[in-house]
């Protein structure tokens, strides 16, 4: 089966529908599937639920889908950088379910690994724990009980992710901290579409260094990425 598609629109053909749940990789603007998000905007798919750590900025990342009112709900850990997001949220036009960052990542990983739920200490005694099953386990230093909450795995209708390199079978390699949420997001999608900077011939990636095996990737495109920097911080070269 051929996984490589000519462009983002072709790769998403037939997999989008109104009201669907999409898991997206990326942290801030780093490692986001910018080409696929643009194609979802152009497709006009509505009432989307996004599982994504962040919501982009006003004119980049998931932010572009907020401008067109295509997003109904976000499952995120931090949404600070997006004024349009805040406007829609305060006006009651957008739902948000805050997830602790590690809980969100594990919910994706678990969903993709056939685990419908898991117990975690994260969020016990906070707003995050409200309405969730609580259970004690004898995990204390001397075997004393500690309280955990049940969090559920996420299975998304579609995952959109960004990697650095792929071979034509969808084996993926990420670069530096652009890996972030991309592997767990890819794993939890019923269908996963990946965009990469370069597709190389099979045999040219080291099998011992594949970050995400191609079994998780159903469709693939190569494209040019803007890779915008959100906060450019530098130091001066010391005078010699």
């Amino acid at each position: 089966m051929k996984k490589v598609y000519p462009d983002a629109a072709a790769a998403l053909d037939g997999v989008l529908f109104d009201g669907m749940t999409i898991a997206a990789g990326g942290f801030g603007l780093c490692g986001i599937p910018e080409l696929l998000l643009t194609a979802i905007k152009e497709a006009g798919t509505k009432d989307l639920t996004f599982a994504s750590n962040n919501a982009g900025v006003d004119d980049f990342g998931i932010g572009i889908l907020l401008q067109t009112r295509q997003v109904k709900k976000m499952l995120s850990s931090y949404v600070g950088e997006n004024a349009e997001f805040m406007r829609q949220y305060l006006a009651g036009e957008l739902e948000i379910e805050f997830n602790p960052q590690g809980t969100l990542a594990e919910r994706m990983r678990a969903g993709g690994a056939g685990i419908p739920g898991f117990y975690t200490k994260t969020g016990v005694g906070t707003q995050v724990a409200e309405g969730k099953e609580h259970k004690d386990f004898p995990t204390g230093p001397q075997g004393e009980p500690e309280t955990y909450i049940l969090e559920r795995g996420i299975v998304a209708d579609l995952a959109v992710v960004k990697a650095w390199k792929a071979d034509d079978t969808g084996n993926l390699i990420f670069r530096k901290t652009a890996r972030n949420f991309n592997p767990p997001a890819a794993m939890c999608g019923k269908i996963c579409v990946a965009e990469v900077e370069e597709i190389v011939p099979r045999g040219s990636l080291d099998p011992d260094n594949i970050h995400l095996p191609g079994i998780y990737v159903h469709r693939l495109i190569q494209g040019d990425h803007e890779k915008r920097i959100e906060q450019r911080t530098t130091r001066k070269r010391e005078d010699v």
Binding site: C30, P100, T103, K176, Q231, T233, T234, R235
Partner: protein, 207 residues
């Protein structure tokens, strides 16, 4: 004289031992890295990196290399990268020895509030809840009192919690306190600050 930001960071750096893997929060905690001296401290960035380096030189910024505050950074010879699920696996699994974090409020039982103020814009907790629930030791660095002079060390937190009973040690501009059975215990005071002055500025029970 109470400690300034850099002196608080310098004091917090004394909490770190050679070989530790540590997560530093945003603000004063970030400054702690400037005071570790010869100790080999490996900084974790929860977006998926161990061995965080300094900011890059101008012109060498890499959009694929940022820290959890979304700032461009650099790698070290011992750096490793991993995905977010693995990153929080090492946090939740207690592999990270310590987190040094800022706070809005700490209660005498170790409750911590640092993620939202009701009525103000809610941006989200990011990785704060995972960190305080998972790492070996939670060290809070913050001003002892608010701008209005109110104690930030309370009998009970008034803001929504980030975690319950999670704080081990608090370093403020007035001194160092540990969370112990029955309240807070003074470990030391900043040079020129008396125990009486520290007590007077504290609402929480000091035993």
């Amino acid at each position: 004289m109470p400690w300034d930001r850099n002196q608080m960071a310098e004091r917090a750096a004394q909490e770190l031992e050679d070989g530790m893997y540590v997560n530093l929060g945003i603000g004063i905690p970030t400054l702690v890295a400037n005071y570790v001296g010869d100790k080999e401290i490996t900084l974790q960035s929860e977006n998926g990196m161990l061995g965080m380096g300094a900011f890059p030189y101008e012109g060498e910024e890499d959009p694929d290399l940022i820290n959890a505050g979304k700032q461009t950074i650099t790698e070290l010879s011992r750096t490793s990268y991993f995905d977010s699920a693995t990153s929080f696996g090492m946090i939740r699994g207690g592999k990270i020895a310590a987190a040094i974090l800022g706070a809005m409020e700490v209660a005498e039982n170790g409750d911590l509030a640092n993620w939202m103020i009701p009525g103000k814009l809610v941006k989200g907790m990011g990785g704060a809840m995972d960190l305080v629930a998972g790492v070996g030791r939670v060290i809070v660095v913050m001003d002892h009192t608010s701008k209005h002079g109110d104690s930030k060390l309370l009998k009970e937190c008034t803001l929504p919690l980030t975690g319950t009973g999670v704080v081990d040690r608090i370093i403020t501009n007035l001194g160092v306190l540990d969370v112990v059975e029955g309240g807070l215990k003074i470990v030391e005071t900043a040079e020129g600050v008396t125990e009486d002055e520290l007590r007077a500025a504290t609402e929480a029970t000091i035993i």
